[in-house]
């Protein structure tokens, strides 16, 4: 009973457990082949999750279970090594050889965890060492330029706003390309757009990615959508991003902390008028304070990390404040049962300005030519605009408050050798309240109402509460028979999401009040969406002589969003990896000196996205119309509504040469979204609403190429350069005969879905001069596409003794986007010079609809996201275990091919994780430059 009580308290109160059994303690030192200590190398009791990392001198101490047999040593960029535990021996010094980290244990794509070498597909990994190089504030910023296989595009410079995350092209017209995000095995909210009932302040929407606590991240694994995500079931077709958090390592309490401070300044590179910066931009202070503690006994370890972040933005009224903390705990309950848990809380508060397509947008109005050519105005006019804008700013009151709680509770049971079972239960609860408070004074300052107006004040409040619950059971059994090794996996998940939103608009707000209670009229809207889904799977990974691996998997999915005619959906995958360098003949002589590693892989797999919850149901709408219910047709209903299934075939190779000094990988992928979920207009003569149906087909093909080179690698100096290139060709191969439909932008110039063209191609009219000198207007022409032909990352890391200099950049090419700001400037008679050919500019009778094509520009860019330097002080004779000084520049160099920021094109993103092609540059500030100093320490 005492044990039951202990477990109960451990589980529910996350308290420290009790040591129940005597353990063995082992220690040692981990170095590279040159004898240089490896800092942060991972040591794991094989087959368990018991482990630790080396300190700054490469030393480690680990308490291992009595039945532990093997230690696994891993380090990024090095070959993993296993060492058998000899009874009585407590010191194990290990030397790791460089190379591709194919023996690393990865979890992604598999239930419990598997050697990376056995995987037949690629996994991008970001380790905590990489994460800690630069100050960490927001998840998508962390990922940007660090995940070679994914593109992360910030859609607004305003803090905490949505980003476009993409890999392998847009696979669906029915949603965004944001991957599933899993923290410690628990799915979390990944709404990466405005909610359905979000505030309409012009496109700036808080993204749920912005408030995922980034403290205590041990590692991030990203698997691209396709064969690797089959076993994740619903919605995993966009890929899966897994975050694993720290649980602490045994020993005395270690305290770590950090202070980061700096400034952010508005980006001027893409401004039409430099005066915009003079009027609006002002440098803002950025500060972050972190504190962490970890330690524990032999049987119970813990980790706590918390931080406070504040920035004043780069415009007077854009600010962000965040407090977050995470607690992790791991307890060995008995020889065969381990508990592990984490819990995190974050509270975010933003203040924002009006943006993009609202006439209140200060930035948008300046750049949109509302005042004509700013660069030709006298200074006195600029000064008066500045004064007026400062007043507007002081009266603007748009806020967004987010609170989020997440937890993961995990039990691992290993009753006998080779068998592991793991149960995870957890939840993510995110609530936010966005509010736009418009006083009469604000409206008067904006010129929207006349002086003396007293009855136009309003409050718009949007609230969202999202809860997702995950239960995940995974079983794994490893066996060895002769030359064959078998890893058998089985398991299942049960997940439930519930999204509740309210939008309240209250008008005739009396001056001096900020309460809904003090308004004369109130109107409310509700949004409710709930979905339960899950599935079960079996998978078999067969290895032959450690060089040939075959991977087979089957999954059955159920989902409450499926139509009643759809039962379980079956998904399949199969893959193979062959490691040529594991052949004996490759390991002899000079060949092995040249080719360190060469393996080939091929995969086939199916992944799915589920339909919009409730889209299957036929309903009537009862609409409040002048105070009474008014019935009309609602969703027509579709009993055959099922998931869209993305079938991916990929082949690739991983290679490294000259003892791992040069290497890379190449993958060709071809994915076909079958039964793609389209919501095309119904035949107009039916008078019925558009109904979601599995009628489309979308194809994505391309190459993924990653490469690294280490030109210098000595005891004192390391220099690594890495680069990636992902190409993509996207086409809607079939629309099932359905009419073309809009997925973003405007009617006259929007993103549309049409058979034979890329998903979300840009459509509009274009007037040209024919050979006879006459004007010809091509109606609804294909003007471009928002998805790039290619994108990638570029990075380097240079270490000289204790000094690290690093940088990362990313780029895209072959996409187009719309210069919406210039459409507005055109209205004001100040369109960009040379926008139109002379004959077109001088032609009479052409409307801006006819000119749409001229506002489509190439959206290529190259952006250096980070350049930083850090220095580890020598603290060997001090109280500190480390002190790291850092200086980091964010967005130091940005360049693009368009008259606007080609990355900041979020005006084309649909609400509620709808299609997110982007592609509309519309009165939105670029991400600011930041100059950040940091001190990190531990003792």
């Amino acid at each position: 009973m005492k044990r039951v009580n202990s477990l109960f308290w451990v589980l529910l109160l996350s308290a420290f457990g009790m040591a129940l059994h005597a353990q063995t303690q082992v220690s040692g030192n981990v170095t590279d082949t040159d004898g240089e200590p490896l800092i942060g190398a991972s040591i794991l009791v094989e087959g368990t999750s018991t482990g630790t990392v080396t300190d700054l001198d490469g030393n480690y101490t680990l308490t291992i279970p009595a039945n532990a047999e093997t230690l696994l040593f891993t380090y990024t960029g090095f070959e993993a090594t296993t060492v058998a535990i000899v009874p009585g021996k407590t010191e194990y010094d290990v030397e790791l050889a460089q190379g591709l980290q194919l023996s690393e244990i990865v979890v992604s794509g598999q239930g419990v965890g598997i050697e990376r070498k056995r995987l037949t597909s690629t996994v991008d990994v970001i380790t905590s060492e990489q994460l800690e190089l630069a100050p960490v504030t927001q998840l998508d910023q962390i990922l940007q330029s660090r995940l070679p296989g994914a593109q992360i595009r910030q859609t607004s410079g305003q803090a905490g706003t949505a980003s476009i995350i993409r890999n392998r092209g847009p696979i669906t017209a029915n949603g965004s390309t944001t991957p599933v995000i899993i923290i410690d095995g628990v799915r979390v909210d990944n709404l990466n757009s405005n909610p359905s009932l979000g505030l309409a302040t012009g496109g700036a929407a808080s993204s749920s990615l912005a408030d995922i606590p980034v403290e205590a991240i041990e590692r991030v694994e990203f698997i691209r959508g396709g064969a690797a995500t089959t076993l994740y079931g619903a919605d995993a077709a966009n890929g899966v991003l897994q975050i694993f958090t720290k649980r602490g390592t045994a020993g005395q309490a270690r305290v770590s902390g950090g202070i980061m401070a700096g400034i952010m300044v508005g980006e001027t590179e893409f401004l039409r008028f430099q005066e915009t910066a003079d009027i609006l931009y002002e440098p803002g202070l950025v500060q972050q304070y972190r504190l962490g503690v970890d330690g524990g006994s032999e049987r119970v370890t813990y980790n706590f990390a918390g931080s406070f972040y504040n920035d004043d933005g780069f415009i007077d009224i854009q600010t962000q404040r965040r407090i977050s903390g995470r607690f992790g705990l791991k307890a060995i309950v008995s020889d065969d049962l381990t508990y592990s848990g984490s819990a995190a809380f974050t509270s975010n508060f933003f203040t924002r300005d009006y943006n993009a397509n609202t006439s209140f947008a200060r930035y948008g109005n300046l750049e949109g030519g509302d005042f004509g050519l700013l660069d030709e105005l006298p200074q006195s006019t600029i000064d008066s605009i500045r004064t007026n804008y400062a007043e507007q700013g002081s009266l603007t009151d748009i806020t967004d408050a987010v609170r989020r709680f997440q937890t993961s509770q995990q039990l691992t049971y290993t009753p006998f050798k080779g068998f592991t079972s793991r149960l995870i239960v957890g939840l993510d609860n995110r609530s936010n309240r966005a509010e736009d408070l418009q006083t009469n004074a604000l409206l008067i300052s904006k010129g929207a109402v006349g002086q003396g107006t007293a009855d136009q004040g309003a409050i718009t409040r949007s609230t969202r509460n999202f809860l997702t619950l995950t239960t995940d059971l995974a079983l794994s059994y490893e066996a060895e028979v002769g030359d064959f090794t078998f890893t058998t996996q089985a398991g299942g998940q049960l997940i439930r999401n519930q999204d509740e939103q309210l939008s309240i608009t209250a008008t005739n707000l009396v001056e001096g009040s900020i309460s809904l209670n003090n308004t004369a009229d109130r109107e409310v809207q509700e949004f409710f969406r709930a979905v339960a889904f899950g599935g079960f799977y079996v998978a078999e990974n067969i290895g032959f002589k450690n060089k040939l691996f075959i991977d087979l998997g089957l999954r059955w999915d159920f989902n409450s969003a499926f139509g009643e005619d759809i039962g379980l959906v079956n998904l399949k995958r199969a893959g193979i990896r062959y490691s040529l360098t594991d052949e004996p003949f490759m390991q002899q002589g000079s060949l092995s000196d040249i080719i360190t590693r060469l393996s080939f892989r091929a995969n086939y797999g199916e992944a799915s996205n589920f339909p919009t919850p409730f889209a299957r149901d036929q309903v009537f709408n009862s609409i409040a119309f002048n105070g009474s219910p008014a019935y009309t047709f609602g969703n027509p209903g579709n009993s055959e509504l099922g998931p869209e299934v993305v079938t991916t075939v990929e082949v690739g190779a991983d290679v490294s040469f000259i003892k791992g000094r040069v290497g890379g990988s190449i993958t060709y992928y071809e994915s076909v979204t079958e039964d793609a979920l389209f919501t095309p207009p119904s035949v107009p003569s039916s008078g019925q609403n558009a109904q979601q149906a599995n009628v489309g087909e979308i194809e994505n093909t391309g190459f993924e190429i990653e490469a690294f080179i280490k030109p210098i690698e000595t005891r004192d100096i390391d220099f690594v350069i890495n680069a990636s290139l992902i190409t993509n060709e996207n086409i809607v191969t079939s629309s099932g005969g359905a009419p073309e439909f809009n997925v973003g932008g405007f009617t006259f110039l929007g993103a549309f879905v049409k058979e034979g063209l890329p998903l979300g191609y840009l459509r509009g009219d274009i007037a040209t001069i024919n050979e006879n000198g006459e004007i010809e207007i091509e109606r609804l022409a294909n003007l471009g596409k928002t998805n790039p032909d290619g994108y990638g990352t570029l990075g380097f890391n240079f270490r000289w003794k204790r000094l690290n200099i690093f940088g990362s950049a990313d780029y895209q090419y072959g996409a187009q986007a719309v210069a919406v700001d210039d459409v507005l400037r055109f209205f004001g008679g100040v369109a960009d010079e040379d926008r139109f050919p002379e004959e077109i500019a001088n032609a009479s009778g052409l409307s801006f609809f006819d000119l749409a094509g001229y506002w489509v520009e190439d959206a290529n860019f190259f952006k250096v996201r980070n350049i930083g330097v850090s220095y580890n002080l020598d603290v060997s004779s001090s109280f500190f275990s480390y002190i790291k000084l850092g200086f980091n520049m964010r967005n130091p160099i940005v360049t693009g091919s368009a008259s606007f920021d080609p990355e900041v094109t979020g005006a084309g993103i649909q609400a509620q994780n709808g299609f997110s092609g982007g592609g509309f540059g519309f009165g939105t500030e670029s991400a600011p430059k930041q100059y950040l100093f940091s001190v990190d320490f531990g003792f």
């Binding site: 939840l427 239960t471 519930q498 809207q525 309903v619 119309f625 009309t632 107009p684 008078g687």
Partner: protein, 486 residues
């Protein structure tokens, strides 16, 4: 030890699953969440279903108006679309089968027809409280769906996925439904409104006798009859707001549609600063009956009779309400202030050969501006007295019509413009032929150039309408496109 662990494991699994289930409010919903919206079973045969569906159909009528009033005004000479995102192509009389507004109007007409058909066939009969007034309402509103189909389109399917049938068929269906509405409840609002609906359908069909008969009937039964489409100004859903009010006034510091200077004194018909109220749009009003009688008289050469009727119209219009609103934010235009007539100092010539008239332009930017909200006209009895021939009588009658029906979507029809069957319909409906996808632009308009062009001399305070479209109607009244009684 092992057994204890397994027992612990079981205990924990049960505990965690229980937590999972308990976290949901209703465990029965855990795996099958319930759609909170209204199922079909909750509509047919339920309390108040007939009245709620009638209100839904009236709302659908309003939504249909939202699709054609603004774009119809843009296509006509009434308004120029200087720089709004409302349809720019219509302003140049480019009415394409692929145009989103063409498609949206077909959809809304079909939806109004489908909703009223469901109401007549199922919802009404299943509701024990179904009244003859409701039945009359369903018939009237379905009649309006057919009427719009027959007046905005040359051909259009009359049923889901059906052939595109000629406008005359839609108008005949409209006449039948309006007749049923009158039969169901001849004295109620819908029955009276059906008289005007039926006279318009007969007018467009050229059935003078039937149209005149209905005109006389409604003038006698309800001499100030007005049936308007209401909007919901409180709900923030843009669809339920008056789109034309948005196009004319509510756009704050964005530009709005700019009226022809001869119509400036009527703009914006829908206005006001109450954010919770949107002005209703007249759907049928008794003025139309008088116009039918006047045009019938002119078609028979009875000039003086027609002039008498026009005087009646002036008298009737004078009884209609006006609204005074704060016009300080509206501009002519916002981005180019003063580029269009914006003071009462400006005199306007309604055609290049017409004399300048005063009183047509109001002082814009004034704190108080007053405009008619149902009907208005610049004509007075002296103007009518001065009409000396049939040609000028037609020109004057159509100018008066243009004024009285401004911002109601009527001018598009009066000009003989017709939309084509939309591309979306053609894509999804195999019965659509290529010939169904042609818009109708009367040749005299197509060759007239920019029909809402003006010549404005701000310094001199004069503005001239460069194309006298009412003259064109008069001159071409024997064509098949306009003035159906000729």
């Amino acid at each position: 030890m092992k057994n204890l662990s397994i027992n612990l494991m079981r205990f924990v699994v049960v505990l965690l699953l229980a937590i999972f289930l308990w976290t949901c409010e209703d465990s029965e919903e855990t795996f099958d969440p319930i759609n909170p919206n209204l199922s079909v079973d909750n509509v047919i045969g339920t309390i108040e279903s007939a009245s709620r569906t009638l209100l839904g159909a009236e709302r659908q009528l309003s939504l249909t108006l939202n699709e054609f009033v603004a774009v119809g005004a843009i296509a006509s000479d009434n308004y120029v679309n200087t720089r709004t995102f409302f349809n720019q192509n219509f302003d140049a009389l480019t009415i394409a089968t692929t145009d989103a507004d063409v498609n949206a109007l077909q959809f809304d007409i079909a939806r109004l027809r489908a909703l009223t058909t469901l109401a007549l066939d199922e919802v009404g009969p299943a509701d024990p409280d179904y009244t003859s007034e409701q039945e009359s309402g369903y018939f009237f509103l379905r009649g309006m769906a057919y009427l719009y189909g027959g007046s905005y389109f040359a051909v259009l399917p009359a049923e889901a996925g059906g052939n595109a049938v000629p406008a005359a068929d839609h108008l005949a269906n409209a006449v039948a439904d309006f007749t049923s509405a009158i039969q169901a409840d001849g004295t109620g609002t819908y029955g009276l409104a059906a008289h005007i609906g039926r006279l318009r359908a007969n007018y467009l069909l050229g059935n003078k006798t039937e149209a005149v008969s209905d005109a006389n009937a409604i003038i006698s039964a309800a001499p100030d009859f007005l049936y308007s489409a209401n909007f919901d100004g409180i709900n923030t859903s843009a669809a339920d707001n008056n789109t034309m009010q948005d196009a004319l006034f509510d756009r704050g510091s964005f530009d709005d549609l700019q009226p022809l200077p001869t119509l400036d004194f009527l703009d914006p018909k829908y206005n006001g600063s109450d954010p919770n109220f949107d002005f209703p749009t007249p759907v049928v009003k008794v003025e139309e009956a008088h116009f039918i009688l006047a045009e019938a008289a002119l078609s028979e050469g009875r000039l003086e009779d027609a002039k008498d009727i026009m005087r009646d119209i002036i008298g009737l219009v004078a009884t209609r309400p006006t609204a005074t609103f704060d016009d300080r934010v509206e501009g002519r235009t916002h981005l180019a202030p003063g580029s269009r007539p914006d003071t009462s100092f400006v005199m306007v010539a309604p055609g290049p050969d017409r004399p300048l008239e005063s009183g047509l332009v109001l002082d814009r930017g004034a704190e108080e501006v007053t405009v008619p909200t149902v009907s208005g006209t610049s004509y007075d009895n002296a103007d009518i007295d001065a009409i000396g021939d049939i040609d000028f009588a037609y020109e004057s009658l159509y100018r008066m019509r243009q004024e009285v029906f401004i911002a109601e979507g009527m001018r598009f029809i009066d000009l003989g413009l017709r939309m084509p069957v939309s591309q979306n319909e053609a894509d999804a409906n195999p019965n659509i032929r290529d010939t169904d996808q042609q818009a109708v632009i009367p040749p005299f308009l197509a060759s007239a150039g920019d029909i809402d062009a003006i010549d404005y001399d701000a310094a001199a305070g004069t503005a001239t309408v460069l194309v006298n479209v009412n003259r064109l109607i008069s001159e071409n009244r024997t064509s098949a496109f306009v003035a159906p009684f000729e």
